[in-house]
Amino acid sequence: MKQRGYALLMTAVLLAVLVAYAIPVLWFLLSSFKPGSELFSLPLTLLPQDWTISGYVTAWTRFDFWRYFGNTGLVAVLTTLLTVLVSAMTGYALAKYRHWWLRVFFICILATTMLPTEVIMPSTFAVIRELGLYDSLAGIIVPSILTATGVFMFRQYFRTVPDELLEAARIDGVGEIRTFFSIMLPLAKPIAITLAIFSFQWRWNDYIWPLIVLNDPNRYTLQLALRSIVGADNIDWSVLLSASVISLIPMVVLFVVFQRQVLSADLNSGLKD
């Protein structure tokens, strides 16, 4: 009896938490289906009185979403591919070879998590400009490739791969680089997938790099486009709500497809970007 009461209590608390976490999104979603006139008319109602997609239509026609999706998608996909490759190579070197300079470099990577580059953005901007990357998508991609999280995730994983595998490959005369690409990298596929999902999310939702690098509205990513709506003196809420919902769609699809990998990810070995 006591057990049952406890179970009931826990379930009730969990339900309350869920409602609290769901309300902001629900209110936002439902509001996006209200006509502009209904958004501010009192009394507010939870459900739209007359459902409409007019906000979506306006948002879609007024903003060049295909372009923003294209820009953001290109940046997110390319950066993710490069991040996975670079992280895997670096993590592998740090896990499977012993040299003093590797140890030093590991500490360097660790330092990047303690000192995020947002903090030094004025000089980072100057560096990007000197490299000729200002106002180009490459200017967002290249500086975002190296992430400590990715390196740590692969390093942690490759440490669990027995050294005997590497020794065996050496005895068979397989070169170090070929061993990595044809034996080790395929082994680390689960880590690569997890990192790819996380990296895609970081890049899709990134704001600060695009903000300091991009100038031409034609190269804007989704987040910058949204920011230009919300930063206006008179916010057009009907458009803003719909545009925000549209920007979420790719992430939702990604989550639905990779839900299992995301929710079971053990990130303790890595670090947040």
């Binding site: 406890y6 826990m10 379930t11 969990l14 938490v17 869920l18 769901a22 309300i23 902001p24 999104v25 936002f28 958004l39 501010f40 009394p43 507010l44 190579m89 670096t90 592998y92 070197a93 012993r98 040299h99 140890r103 470099f105 990577i109 660790l110 330092a111 990047t112 303690m114 000192l115 995020p116 580059t117 947002e118 903090v119 030094i120 953005m121 004025p122 000089s123 560096v127 290249v142 500086p143 490739i145 740590f152 680089i177 704001y207 300091i212 949204l226 920011r227 919300v230 930063g231 809420w237 803003l240 925000s244 920007s247 992430m251 929710l263 990810a265 990130l267 303790n268 670090l271 947040k272």
Partner: protein, 312 residues
């Protein structure tokens, strides 16, 4: 489960006892050098470079164009007398002090709930709780701005219906900060929850069962068994939370732009404003250097603290 610092100490330990003293063949030196080459270049270009350049700029009057002229410590002197700088620094410190415990408790609380064998509906709960992770900081700001609008928001509408009167979520600086705290916690729970859930799963069941047999109450089991065993993860959550709060920017941009006025302008926004909107890169770099020193100190203090925990 190992925290970052554990890995460092492991790394430093003489773990290579069984290795022979023979020098490894050159391939085993060339290959790792090649593997890390791209990372090294990126690290030097986008981390060391800007950091060094930032130190130099902070002693100049660089405005983004033309030459940077050395002006000694003038920027720093000006900074000491800059009220807006102190206000931003104070607000950032206040935000961090409030946000870190809030993020920590919220994430641990939901992690315990969804790993509790007693509660029902956990798989649905995990998905619902994870939704905020999908949402970008900008859209998170939009969502909370919409919810807490002073004249049109759902929350004020409910408060008015309950006869509690409306709250000045936008025009009162402290209430505005409360909204930022709530939105930040909401957005940050999912990631920290994942960390805690993984750590809780790794706690051997036998520990908790033994405590239960000894008659420990659920609360006692949590505070005396679970929480101490989560220490490495707790440390990570606090460290990441502190760094994340100190550099909060995007979400606030969309939520209230640091308003009302500049009362909730946090440090990174202040750097952005001076460096990019007012094109005082030299001055902004001086602010950056102050923030950098603070972050290094925070990291050192917390790493120290973590070491002590390990010894206890």
């Amino acid at each position: 489960m190992t925290s970052v610092t554990d890995q460092v100490s492991l790394e430093a330990a003489p773990a290579t006892v069984r290795r022979d003293r023979r020098r490894p063949p050159s391939g085993q030196r060339l290959a790792p050098a090649l593997f890390i080459s791209v990372s090294v270049v990126l690290f030097a270009t986008f981390f060391v470079g800007p950091a060094a350049l930032g130190i130099w700029y902070s002693f100049t009057d660089y405005s983004g164009v033309g030459d940077a002229e050395f002006i000694g410590a003038e920027n720093y002197a000006e900074l000491l007398a800059d009220d807006q700088f102190w206000a931003s620094l104070g607000r950032t410190a206040l935000y961090t002090v409030l946000a870190v415990p809030l993020h920590f408790v919220a994430a641990l609380f939901v992690a315990v709930l969804i790993t509790s064998p007693a509660a029902r509906g956990k798989s649905l709960a995990k998905i619902v709780l994870f939704v905020p992770w999908l949402i970008s900081p900008i859209v998170t700001g939009v969502i909370w701005r919409w919810l807490f609008g002073e004249n049109f928001g759902f929350v004020n509408h409910l408060l008015a219906l309950l006869g509690l009167g409306t709250v000045r979520w936008e025009t009162d600086a402290d209430w505005a900060l409360v909204v930022v705290l709530l939105a930040g916690t909401w957005g940050g729970t999912a990631f920290n929850m994942l960390l805690f859930v993984a750590a809780i799963r790794n706690i051997p069941k036998s520990y908790l069962e033994a405590a239960e047999i000894d008659g420990a109450s659920p609360r006692r089991r949590f505070f005396s068994v679970t929480l101490p065993l989560l220490a490495p993860t707790s440390f990570l959550v606090v460290l990441l939370g502190t760094l994340g709060s100190m550099k909060e920017f995007a979400m606030v941009q969309a939520l209230n732009g640091g308003g009302p006025g500049t009362e909730n302008m946090l440090l990174v926004q202040y750097i952005y404003r001076t460096g990019f909107e007012r094109a005082e890169i030299g001055y902004a770099s001086a602010v950056s250097m102050v923030l950098m020193v603070i972050l290094v100190l925070v990291a050192i203090i917390q790493l120290r603290f973590d070491r002590k925990e390990d010894l206890a």
